[in-house]
């Protein structure tokens, strides 16, 4: 059965994963900004 959870092998990997989760807000905002700019054209 395919593992549904992403596995990490060290504290550093957990830290990087959490950092990416935090950074996702900025990526989402940028995605929204670009999409709204497209809508305005």
């Amino acid at each position: 059965m395919k593992d549904v959870f992403i596995r990490y092998n060290s504290p550093e990997e957990y830290a990087e994963a959490f950092q990416q989760m935090i950074d996702a807000r900025g990526k989402w905002r940028e995605q929204i900004r670009q999409q709204e700019a497209q809508m305005a054209l």
Binding site: D3, V4, F5, I6, Y8, P11, E12, Y14, A15, E16, A17, F18, Q19, Q20, M21, I22, A24, R25, K27, W28, R29, Q31, I32, Q35, E36, M39
Partner: protein, 168 residues
């Protein structure tokens, strides 16, 4: 997954404008503009989980507005109605108001969970000298409910307080 503004607008107290398949903009009676939506998670589960975001685009603050909770409730109902799915959130800490946000999210999501047979779990994580509030919301009948909850709790516990960049 696709959430439809047309469908949500039949009941929403504020008109939602569709930005993408899972994000909307709305403006409140106090003329404050919000963006609400979901972003696919690829850090906790490979599939079936999304990060929830609500953004006060212009960083304006108004009086408490219960209609915002009504909008969020409709969005969540539509989100959780489509397929077994998991919602994650991390309260925005950039203006040091994450604790207040966590209280508000708890107010919203605890009420939502109680009325919709859902599980809400939230915790704080200190990471790089900042306290983050993170949570998860999923239906009681999610086929992997217990495993997901346990795994998320473990995931948060394993985030170290101090972050060292890996040597390349």
């Amino acid at each position: 997954m696709m959430l439809s503004a047309d469908k949500l607008n039949k009941k929403s107290p504020y008109q939602l404008t569709q930005i993408n398949d899972m994000a909307f903009r709305f403006v409140t009676d106090q003329h404050i503009s919000y963006i609400v939506g979901f972003y696919k998670d690829s850090f906790f589960m490979g599939d079936g989980s999304y990060l929830f975001f609500i953004d006060n685009a212009d960083k304006e603050h108004g009086a408490y507005d219960p209609k915002i909770f009504d909008v969020i409730t409709l969005v969540l109902e539509e989100f959780f109605s489509q397929e077994p799915t998991v919602m994650l959130y991390i309260c925005d800490p950039t203006d040091q108001r994450q604790a207040a946000r966590d209280r508000l999210y708890h107010l919203w999501f605890y009420d939502y969970a109680r009325n919709h047979e859902m599980t809400l779990y939230s915790d704080s994580v200190t990471f790089k000298d900042t306290k983050y509030y993170a949570g998860i919301l999923l239906r009681h009948d999610h086929p992997l409910h217990d495993k997901i909850l346990t795994s998320y709790q473990k995931f948060l516990r394993r985030v170290p307080e101090r972050y060292k960049l890996r040597e390349k």
